[in-house]
């Protein structure tokens, strides 16, 4: 996998993370600081205590003295333990808060950034990197604090233990450094292998997860049963699992090799330590208690040393992850998000929209394939425009550009004389009431959904638009009416809606917003003929004094529009009123004839 060079260096990332903690929760530091002395002194005390004890027993001191030694030691331990518990408990709560703040900041960014940033692969990767880390329970910009402390503690540990050992033998110290270095290299070899190959098994894991959730989904069950997909799905699952297991084996073979090398190093290290200390005992340089203490110090020392390697590595990793957050927050925006020119005043309504030589290519598209090529079009004030064309001709792309979701690759789009980039894009969005083909609900009440707001809901208006959209009967059948919650399964009392009902709900929401421009993309695909006809009949009323764009495969709808644009392969092939285009006898007329064929009384029963 290609890893572009990170934008920020490690120190700037660390500073960024610490600054945010300081900004959001100063008390966090208060509970973290006591852990430093505790973390260094406790292990040291644990190593020193047996020495004290053995010495005091060996010198045949009275039982009171022995009890005093034990008593003092454990009193210290008790205080330290209680203090540590208190700090940990406080920190746990704060930690949870911080990672949620990051999650929320990412979500907000995701909802406000240019729409193009939510469906271009590169930006999605950035978003996912940041979000995955924030939700991982090990949120890097917060846990970096722990790693830094760990490094600091390890350094202190190496210093204190190192001084103790240096008193006995500088040589063993050198040996310990050497062995820690080898351990570090082995760990790095193992980690690099994992880093290099991780993507391969992560992909397999994703496939396994996909298959499992696919099998679970209720929507999929019909196809799975009718087409007897059982064998296919189970074979695939078993196949991926086998592939995954192959990787597990490879990784564990390497980790076993690491274990063996470490065991060998321990063998050499402990052997040398014993040899040196025993010689010293024989030379009467140290007591039995010293022997225990020094031996503990030597074994402890390598743990501190390895700790430094681990923490440095850990900090590097976390810094990369902090970089993900920053890169996402600093993602390039092509539209204005704060300031912009003023929206049209009431006198300037309805608006006109002008496209000059607009071309557009999706960032994920292969090669030079443009979704739109050189489209020039002026939609007049209050005009009702229909866009028709075959699947994939660019109809939806065109309205997405007009709504300000994408930035044209070439050319410009103007609304009332200003290009979209001049407006504050959030203000610009307020000019559009749109119903798109893909339907998504939120787990909120019908009233909140229609008004798209939690407060200041005009309930009479909600009821009114619901009636206009043809949903009044459905709402009347619900015990909680417009206060029923949507999306069955999220809350206990949430309700289910059919495809047709959802489409009507989308229409109601667009009507509630009552914006100067109405965009409808296949709003009747799931509606029955009666409901479809009702919408047609009301279309003029709904779009009175508004500029509107209507996309549909049902060409009957074009009758209510002033002008029809026929798109073909991203270009405008024909443009005019229904009668003009029928007279022209071109593509539109052909399409219309095809669709009318079976509706004509004289159609032969094919």
């Amino acid at each position: 996998m290609k890893n572009p060079k990170p934008k920020h260096n490690m120190f700037s990332n660390i500073a960024y993370a610490l600054r945010n903690i300081w900004k959001w929760d100063k008390a966090f530091y208060l509970f973290f600081i006591p852990s430093i002395p505790l973390a260094v002194l406790m292990p040291l005390a644990a190593t020193y205590f047996p020495k004290l004890l053995i010495d005091s027993v060996e010198s045949q001191q009275s039982i009171h003295n022995v009890i005093a030694v034990i008593g003092i030691y454990f009193a210290v331990i008790l205080i330290a333990d209680l203090l540590r518990n208190l700090c940990n408990s406080k920190l746990n709560m704060r930690r949870y808060n911080l990672s949620c703040l990051y999650q929320h900041a990412i979500s907000e960014k995701h909802m406000r950034t240019d729409y193009a940033n939510t469906d271009n692969p590169e930006a999605i990767t950035k978003y996912q990197h940041a979000m995955n880390d924030a939700c991982s329970g090990q949120c890097a910009p917060e846990f970096i604090w722990q790693s830094l402390m760990g490094l600091f503690i390890s350094l202190l540990g190496v210093f204190t233990y190192g001084s103790v050992i240096a008193i006995i033998s500088p040589w063993i110290l050198l040996f310990l450094f050497l062995s820690a270095f080898i351990t570090y290299l082995v760990n790095r070899w193992h980690r690099n292998y994992i880093e290099k190959n991780k993507d391969k098994w992560v992909t397999i894991d994703r496939k396994i997860g996909y298959l499992q959730s696919f099998s679970q989904k209720f929507d999929h069950a019909k196809d799975i049963r009718i087409y007897g997909m059982f064998d296919w799905l189970t074979d695939m699952l078993a196949g991926f699992q086998k592939e995954r297991f192959g990787w597990t084996k490879k990784v564990s073979a390497r980790s076993l090799a690491g274990t063996c090398i470490n065991a060998l190093l321990m063998l050499l290290q402990n052997g040398a330590a014993y040899a040196i200390l025993i010689v010293m005992v024989f030379n009467n340089k140290i007591s039995a208690g010293d022997f225990v203490f020094y031996f503990g110090a030597i074994t402890g020392f390598s743990a501190w040393l390895n700790g430094i390697g681990n923490k440095v590595n850990d900090i590097t990793h976390k810094s990369i992850k902090i970089g993900y957050y920053r890169e996402y927050f600093e993602i390039e925006e092509k539209y204005n998000h704060e300031k912009g020119c003023a929206l049209p005043t009431d006198q300037e309504l309805p608006v006109d929209i002008e496209l000059n030589n607009v071309s557009f290519k999706y960032p994920s598209a292969d090669g030079e394939k443009h979704a739109l090529k050189n489209v020039s079009l002026k939609i007049g004030k209050g005009e009702k425009l229909a866009i028709v064309g075959a699947n994939g001709a660019g109809k939806t792309t065109l309205v997405k550009l007009i709504c300000g979701f994408y930035y044209p690759s070439e050319g410009e789009i103007k609304l009332n004389g200003h290009t979209i980039a001049d407006y504050n894009i959030e203000d610009y969005y307020s000019l559009f009431s749109a119903v798109f083909q893909d339907i998504y609900l939120l787990p909120v009440t019908i009233a909140e959904f229609v008004a798209s707001s939690e407060k200041a809901i005009d309930r009479d208006r909600v009821t009114d638009v619901i009636r206009q959209a043809g949903l009044a009967d459905k709402i009347a059948s619900l015990p909680n009416g417009i206060d029923s919650r949507l999306m069955k399964g999220v809350f206990d009392d949430s309700i289910e809606m059919s495809g047709g009902e959802k489409q009507k709900l989308m229409l109601a929401r667009a009507l509630y917003k009552n914006a100067p421009v109405i965009v409808l993309d296949e709003p009747t695909a799931a509606l029955d003929p009666i409901a479809e006809n009702e919408l047609y009949l009301k279309y003029n009323e709904l779009t009175a004094a508004k500029t509107s764009v209507y996309i549909s495969h049902r060409l009957a709808s074009t009758r209510f529009c002033d002008r029809i644009v026929y798109l073909e392969n991203g270009e405008i092939a024909e443009c005019g009123s229904h009668d003009e285009l029928m007279k022209l006898g071109g593509r539109y007329a052909h399409m219309f004839d095809l669709q009318s064929h079976y509706y004509k009384e004289d159609a032969e029963n094919a």
Partner: protein, 603 residues
Amino acid sequence: MRKNSPNIRALKLLHSFCPSYFLLLVLKSFFAKLSPYFNLYLSAEIINEIIGTRNKDTLITLVLVTVLGNFAIAVIGGILNRVFNHKETLLYQREAQYYNTKTLTLDYDNLENPEVRQLRRKITESSKINFHGKQLLLNSIGYLVNITINAVLALILGIEMFVLMFASGFSWLIVLLACLIVGLVAFNVWYSFRQKDKMGQVSRNVSQTMIDENRIDNAIDCYNIGKDVRLYRQDKLIMKIKNYAFDLHKKAFRTMESKRYKLNIPLTVAGVLLEAIIYVFVCVYALLGAFGIGSIIKYVGFVETIAGCITSYFSVFADIKYNTPFVEDYLAYFDIPQKMYQGSLTVEKRDDNEYYVEFKDVSFKYPGAETYALRHVNIKFKVGERLAVVGMNGSGKTTFIKLMCRLYDPTEGEILLNGVNIKKYDYDEYLAVFSVVFQDFKLFSFPLGENVAAGTDYDTEKVTSSLRQSGFGERLASMPDGIKTPLYKDFDNNGVEVSGGEAQKIALARALYKNAPFIILDEPTAALDPIAEYEIYSKFNEIVGDKTAIYISHRLSSCRFCDKIAVFDNGQIVQRGSHDELVSDENGKYRELWYAQAQYYTE
């Protein structure tokens, strides 16, 4: 022991997935636990030797045994650990297969049954978030094995200590200390039980809020709703929902955390006190001369371990008890009966495709619903017929299809295939008679050919011709790897995105590939443009051939090429006949539907 029987059942099931798992668990734990004892024991010997006779050869032997022994234990432990991890992976993989198999063969109506859905949700959510269920059971067993090995090792090596202590006689101080130790252990056991009990409810609350939060987050996955969020300024609404879930969780979490902190204080104090008394206890013996000074650390270690094991035993049993309801849920999923699979008749393979289907007074209510979705439906059609089914939204058209494909069994009445109740047929064989394109069909992020054939082994020729027939030929020709091209980019950067219309054509090709005697199309052209739609219409007879076809559509033009039309209204068939017959019925529903659409095309 009655209460533990689900645990034993679950363990037997898990054991069947990988029989050597438990043996390796014991071996691996043994070597993991051996190392500290080995070191405690030998370092005590070394210290005693240093304090005592200081024999060079003995010391060298002891040191060599220590370091080489440690090496051997580490290497053998590493190997065993590796093998164990492999077995563990296998066990979980096979368990996943088993679970998936059950899911895939669940009766369709069970999938919709709220109880089954809730059961499955409980199983996945609680296992994902807290590892409750099978995983906690396996973990608990792992702990149990560890504790037992620990206790056994400590007891074996500790026998020596007890013998030495016994030999050195008693003093009041020792009796007092021994009583204190027993008392503190008893306190620990009692208190941790009480703590588990008190924590149980709060931690359940936290899990529940986590589950809720997770579900809400899934429901508002912002990736999909980008357009709506921006145009309708839903960001505030979404943040409100997020904050609602977050606050709920935070509150529960805080309660749990502060409760845990408070409840832990006595345990911490008792723990430290216990350790201190054990030290005194052992030191007193050492001062009495029961054993060498070097053994102090070792014996303290033994006594501590045994005391710790007693507390841990009770704690693990408390965990197992707490986990039992989750294990019961887990098993209950596998116990859901599969009544669809009870039939055994084979469907006669007829070369002449001479099949007929009959609905005899069929009524149907969805599980949990109060009103009937279908009422008294009687219809019979035979091979080669083309039936159009029309009606308003919610009139029962799709339900009718689902019953015919036996995704549900009728509440009343019966459905016959060639005169025999369809319940009597082998389920898989019965389903093989139908090719269906559902309104909400689904495709997979795997290669196109596999999608069409619904399998990995397929006839390339037949896949290609099916795709051509469904009108996908042109796009197919432009695909880099032909039918091997993966659909969607989920897993493969070479994957291709297909539009709604193209997906519909692929779904149709899948139905054609299956080549079943009945072909059912539910709104198969909803996402197609008029030209593609016309192609399907005009080729309809060619596509369907001599099969029986049922066509559901809101585009009534499709009725023109069907022999018979059934008009559904409120779950009943209100009209039946040919287009010409029905359209001339002035008061009929069909005429109303037809003119609502046709008026725009027929002037």
